[in-house]
């Protein structure tokens, strides 16, 4: 089945009929009678017997197991309240941190204004969110900078099986963490970070395309005057 042919790749708007042809309603759709409609603006896509509408826009809504870049905005005696660029405030409980935190002593470990990488532990039906930092990959961020892109572009920044972000890292040697919530932390030399940020903006703005990967590669080759280092997957 040719999934990437132009006829199949269609921008749909809310309320638009998605030709079912025996497909089941996937994400971003709703059903009325026996017909499937788009629920939000996005790309109509068929996958494994489902028709989905991949979102082109919208605020980040947290899901369990997402890794996010957050910012502490308030603290209580046993938790820190974090902004994760979402409509829902996300508390990080002291018991979910890598430290032994005495009651009332939270400010010693994280202060208002600190930037962190955390995981979404749980989201319940009423959209109460809990974060966790109880994993080695999580923790407080030092140095570097944070940029924000629409979270719907995050899959493109990472690429199929991580190939896009690997390419950016290979060329620029920049340390990067891409949060599911559209926030990206970068650290490296100013020039290299500048190139990485530019590459990300190309992806964000859907720069003129041969294929998006080719466009980004062309920019990086031009910036570094060489081919990519042999792909390692990680730096």
């Amino acid at each position: 089945m040719d999934e990437s042919g132009p006829a199949r790749r269609q921008v749909v708007i809310p309320g638009e009929l998605l030709d079912g042809r025996g497909l089941k309603p996937g994400s971003g759709t709703y059903v009325e009678g026996d017909q499937i409609f788009a629920a939000h603006i996005g790309i109509r896509q068929e996958r494994e017997g489902f028709v989905d509408v991949v979102p082109l826009s919208g605020r980040y809504i947290p899901r369990a197991r997402d890794a996010v870049v957050g910012q502490v905005i308030d603290l209580g005696p046993s938790h820190w309240l974090t902004d994760i660029n979402s409509p829902y405030p996300a508390p990080l409980h002291a018991t979910e941190s890598p430290w032994r935190v005495e009651f009332g002593d939270t400010e010693r470990f994280l202060r208002v204004g600190d930037a962190i990488i955390a995981g979404v532990l749980s989201v319940d039906e009423a959209m109460h969110v809990q974060l966790t930092m109880a994993d080695r990959q999580y923790g407080r961020l030092h140095g570097g900078q944070i940029i924000e892109i629409p979270h719907v572009r995050v899959p493109r920044v990472i690429g199929q099986r991580g190939t896009m972000i690997a390419m950016i890292r290979d060329f620029t040697r920049v340390e990067m963490f891409v949060g599911q919530n559209g926030r990206i932390w970068l650290d490296g030399s100013p020039t290299d970070v500048g190139h990485a940020v530019h590459a990300i903006h190309l992806i964000e703005e859907r720069a003129p395309l041969v294929g998006l990967t080719d466009t980004v590669r062309e920019y990086l080759v031009g910036a570094y005057g060489r081919g990519a280092a042999p792909p390692t997957g990680r730096n």
Binding site: P14, G28, H40, P55, G58, Y88, E175, V178
Partner: protein, 266 residues
């Protein structure tokens, strides 16, 4: 719908050949242009020129609803604020909401509340802002039409867009889309808004004097016009997201749970 004015000049709003003062026939819309995604900060936005109306619409949301005690634990609040800039009308309007703006805000909020899938976002609000920059009657219809586009641009899930239009009666003739003079000196005005796919009417107001038959003619004119208006809304959105259609297959979301990166500074 403005307060009806006394017509001192006895303006002939529609002549014997059915031609109105601006050259339109009874069933003709004023020219409309819509552009989506015109503001940077808002989550979604749209700008509309409808005859001499110029209206900007923007959406923030879903976002945390404030004040807390007004939050709905089951769904998002859908709130619209309609406002006219002081320079949007011939006689300067003092800044701030007046009773007319408050009423219009309310009926537009209700129109959108019936199409937005609010249950997906408990405890939040979807805030819609309509700002009239230049007014020539029909601003609530123009604003609602633009706000629909702004909501879609913001990625808000909805059953459908909402298209809006008004019809009325001038010089005894039921006509589509009254401009300011026609609204001021005509006999009736009837703004409405409709869900294009289902035909559900989500906004309906009327003032003036119409027989039942005239009312149905007016509604009919408006409903027909909304088909074209819907296409303009749709085209505005497709233009905005045109490049999106060119990319290859979307990477599945499962790919993007990042392998732990070498953030060894932690």
């Amino acid at each position: 719908m403005k307060d009806k004015e006394h017509n001192p000049k006895q303006l002939k709003l529609i002549d014997a050949n059915g031609i109105r003062l601006d050259g339109r026939r009874y069933d003709e819309l004023r020219p409309i242009k819509i552009e989506a995604g015109v503001l940077k900060k808002a989550d979604g936005s749209a700008y509309i020129e409808w005859g001499n109306n110029r209206v900007l619409a923007a959406v923030y949301g879903p976002r945390e609803a404030h004040p807390r005690h007004l939050q709905d634990p089951a769904k998002a609040l859908v709130q619209c604020r309609y406002n006219m800039a002081p320079f949007s009308v011939t006689e300067r309007k003092r800044p701030g909401p007046d009773r007319r703006s408050v009423e219009i805000s309310k009926v537009i909020s209700e129109a959108f509340a019936s199409v937005v899938f609010a249950e997906q976002f408990p405890r939040t609000s979807v805030d819609i802002f309509i700002e009239v920059l230049q007014a020539d009657a029909g601003t609530r219809c123009a604003g609602l039409t633009a706000a629909s586009v702004a909501l879609a641009d913001a990625g808000i899930p909805m059953r459908d867009l909402v298209a809006s239009c008004a019809s009325g009666k001038i010089g005894g003739v039921v006509c589509l889309d009254l401009n300011k003079d026609e609204d001021n000196f005509g006999e009736a005005d009837c703004p409405m808004a409709i869900v294009p796919r289902t035909g559900d009417v989500v906004l309906l107001q009327m003032d003036g004097h119409l027989t039942e038959e005239e009312f149905h003619s007016a509604l009919d004119l408006s409903i027909k016009a909304t088909k074209g208006i819907y296409q303009l809304q749709r085209q505005a959105l497709l233009r905005r997201y045109a490049t999106a259609a060119q990319e290859g297959e979307e990477p599945p979301r499962a790919d993007i749970r990042e392998p732990p990166s070498e953030v060894n500074d932690l």
